[in-house]
Structures are given as structure tokens and as C-alpha cells.
């Protein structure tokens, strides 16, 4: 049985932990709002980009002008998986969900006899995948030092991917990240990057375009940029998702700490009361004996 002093210490330490989780929850809430705003502000660009890309892809379709980045190499022997996770833990199952999805993919691809290469973005994904697939990881990017993810960060990752592709290192590229559905729900998603999956062309917008310079040239400029935009979008959604998950996780932790404090306090009071009663009995029986 723990002594009164032990119980007091225990309560104090749980209280301190609760304060920390509470503070983390509030910080996550504030960051979540900013991340959400950033993700929303970036949405118009990627939407327009999709529309333009779909249009132009249709225009060059069959012309043989499309760059390899868009059509792929025509093979699917070597797969590059870009796994984007957070740099920090303490956010519930957020990181492990993404990694689990990536793992399933890796297993499936390996079972099919394909070669798999991994590029991790964020420290957590690297740490988790390193255990099983250290040999497959070709490169990693950490974003820990960066406070607000800018387009330049995404562009850097895109450049790496494109350089690998041009070097003939892989045939198909898939991006893993967590789609931000709502504060309490993040869906791990696998999105094909290369070859590009083009969306539907809007009705009535297939008017005859003039291209300046040629359609092929524009496409050559546009496709690499599109990859950067997709990565940027994924990173922003990831940050928002991470903060959402962290907020929920820390809220739970704070609540659990509260319950624990209540339970400990009851035990403490009961024990204190028992001790007082015991002392009283001792005094009374001592007095009676005289």
C-alpha cells in the first residue's frame, strides 16, 4: 500500500503532466487554424492547375508530344513511394496510419516481384520504415526546421523526384499522405504522381486554344510544376491533419489525466481518513485502559 506521501507525489506529477498536455492541445488548436487556412488558401491553385492540365493533356493527346513525366515510361517495374509524415509524435495514430498504408503497398508490390524504392518526408515515417525496409529507402527529407511550409519546400522535393525519374531510377511514383477530411478525421491516401492521372475535362471548355509557345513546351513546363503543386498540397494537408490528430490526442490525454487525479484523490482521502480513525482508536483504547 502506497504511503500518503507517495500518493501526494503521484497526484502532483499527474497534475504536471496534465498541464503539459493541456498546453500542447491549445498550441495544436492554434496551429491547426493556421494550417487549415494555409491548406484552404492553396486549394484554388491546385484546382485551376488540374483543370488546365486536363485541358492541355487532351490537346496533345495522341500527338506524341506529351513529356515522359506525364505518360510514365510505359513500364511499371520500379516503384517509388514518397511517404509524407509528420516530424513529431504525440499525435495519436496519425503517423502510423500513413505508414501502415505505405507498408501494405510495399508488401503487395514486393509480392508481385516489383522493385520498390522509398523516399520519406518527415522524421517519423523514416523512423518507422527504417525498421523493416531500410534497404529500400533511397532518400529522405526532414521538415523539422521549417515553421511554415512554403512552396519552395515542396518544389525541392519535386525536384528530387524528377531528377530520379530522369535518371531512370523508377517507372511509377506514388505519394502517400493523409487527406484532411475534418479535425477529427484524417484519411491516409495514396495518390499517383507519375504517370499523371488527369481529371475530367470540364464541359464546354474544350474550345480551341492557341498556345504560346507550343502546347508541348507549355506541358513540359507545367507537368513538373504540377508535381510540386501536388506535393505542396499533400504537405499542407498533412500539417493540418497532424495538428488535428494532435489536438484530439492531447484532449484525450488531458481528460485521462483528470480522471486519474480524481481516482488518486479519492484513494488519498480515504487513506488519510483511515489513518485518523486508527489514531483515534489508539488514543481512546489507551485512555480506557487506564
Amino acid at each position: 500500500m502506497a504511503s500518503l506521501k507517495d500518493l501526494r507525489n503521484r497526484i502532483a506529477s499527474v497534475k504536471a503532466t496534465q498541464k503539459i498536455t493541456k498546453a500542447m492541445q491549445m498550441v495544436a488548436a492554434a496551429k491547426l487554424r493556421r494550417a487549415q487556412e494555409a491548406a484552404e488558401a492553396a486549394r484554388p491553385y491546385s484546382e485551376r492547375m488540374d483543370a488546365v492540365l486536363a485541358n492541355i493533356a487532351q490537346a496533345v493527346a495522341g500527338g506524341g508530344e506529351a513529356p515522359a513525366l506525364m505518360t510514365g515510361t510505359g513500364k511499371d517495374d520500379v516503384h517509388l513511394l514518397v511517404v509524407a509524415t509528420a516530424d513529431r509524435g504525440l499525435c495519436g495514430g496519425f503517423n502510423s496510419q500513413i505508414v501502415r498504408l505505405a507498408r501494405e503497398h510495399i508488401r503487395k508490390l514486393l509480392a508481385e516481384g516489383k522493385t520498390v524504392k522509398i523516399l520519406t518526408v518527415g522524421r517519423k515515417g523514416y523512423d518507422m520504415l527504417r525498421r523493416d525496409y531500410a534497404r529500400l529507402i533511397v532518400d529522405r527529407v526532414e521538415l523539422k526546421e521549417i515553421k511554415q511550409i512554403g512552396f519552395a519546400n515542396a518544389d525541392e522535393i519535386a525536384k528530387k523526384v524528377i531528377a530520379l525519374f530522369e535518371d531512370g531510377q523508377f517507372d511509377v511514383c506514388t505519394l502517400f499522405y493523409s487527406r484532411f477530411k475534418s479535425v477529427i478525421s484524417q484519411v491516409p491516401t495514396a495518390q499517383p504522381l507519375i504517370p499523371v492521372a488527369t481529371g475530367e475535362v470540364e464541359e464546354g471548355s474544350n474550345s480551341v486554344y492557341e498556345y504560346e509557345p507550343s502546347a508541348g513546351d507549355i506541358l513540359g513546363d507545367l507537368v513538373p510544376r504540377n508535381i510540386a503543386v501536388q506535393i505542396f498540397k499533400a504537405l499542407l494537408e498533412n500539417v493540418a491533419g497532424e495538428m488535428g490528430a494532435k489536438m484530439t490526442a492531447m484532449d484525450n490525454a488531458t481528460r485521462n489525466a483528470g480522471e486519474m487525479i480524481d481516482k488518486l484523490t479519492i484513494t488519498y482521502n480515504r487513506q488519510r481518513q483511515a489513518q485518523i480513525t486508527k489514531e483515534l482508536i489508539e488514543i481512546i483504547s489507551g485512555a480506557e485502559a487506564l
Binding site: 491553385y45 485551376r48 492547375m49 488546365v52 512552396f151 504560346e212 509557345p213 507549355i218
Partner: protein, 135 residues
């Protein structure tokens, strides 16, 4: 009053403008172009330069853009810029840094093709600086 059309200027980070305008001057790679309502559909890449927007109401606005492309339709125009900023808010140090980077790239280019591209970009940047910063 001239006819108006919808103009949108978006950068990856945010939507800068989305409003009805009378005309827009875009720095296309093949030369500047003025876009007005009912323009023929054109898709063009843009070079670093200044976009001048003339809204239906209010004064002319100028934005510095660094590369990207424009999607022009009779009913509207969308400008997807790699990075864009209002001319008044443009930081001269930032511009200098971009010029330095471009210069570095041009000097260290590996092949001729890359070098000529980097030099072209550098030239466009210095031209932009010349137009923005009064001598």
C-alpha cells in the same frame, strides 16, 4: 465603360485577386499582351515581370510575378503564378536574392542549354528590377 471579365491571380500559397476587370497586361514569354473581354482562348507561359490589372472600379494595381502561366478564355482569365506579390509590398532584398541565385545558377550551369535558360531568367529578373526600382 468597357466590357469586363473575370480575372484571377493565384499563387500556390494563396488567391491574390479574383474580381471583375476591364483589362490586364500579362508579361508572356513571347511578349507582353493586353487581355480584354472576349479574348480568343490562349494558353501562355509567363516570364518574370509585372502584371497590371485594371479593375472595373478602383485604381490600377500592379503585381510582380515570377514565372507561371496564364489561361485565357473569352469569359475570363486565370493567371497561375509560381510566386506573386503586390508591387508595393515587394521586398528589394528578396529580389536581390533571387537575382543572386539566378546568377549563381547561370555561372554553374552544366550544359549549354541549361546555361542559356538560366541566363535568360537572370536577364528577365534584372529587367524586372529595372522597371520596379527607379534609378
Amino acid at each position: 465603360m468597357a466590357e469586363s471579365f473575370k480575372f484571377e491571380l493565384v499563387s500556390p500559397e494563396r488567391l491574390l485577386i479574383s474580381e471583375e476587370v476591364e483589362q490586364v497586361i500579362i508579361p508572356g514569354t513571347e511578349g507582353e499582351m493586353t487581355v480584354m473581354a472576349s479574348h480568343a482562348p490562349v494558353m501562355t507561359t509567363i516570364k518574370p515581370g509585372v502584371v497590371t490589372v485594371k479593375p472595373v472600379s478602383g485604381a490600377e494595381q500592379r503585381y510582380a510575378v515570377f514565372g507561371g502561366f496564364a489561361d485565357i478564355l473569352p469569359q475570363g482569365c486565370t493567371l497561375l503564378a509560381e510566386s506573386a506579390i503586390h508591387v508595393d509590398k515587394l521586398d528589394r532584398a528578396d529580389l536581390q536574392k533571387r537575382i543572386e541565385d539566378a546568377r549563381h545558377k547561370a555561372e554553374h550551369a552544366e550544359d549549354l542549354n541549361e546555361r542559356s535558360r538560366a541566363e535568360l531568367y537572370l536577364h528577365q529578373l534584372t529587367t524586372l528590377e529595372g522597371t520596379l526600382v527607379p534609378a
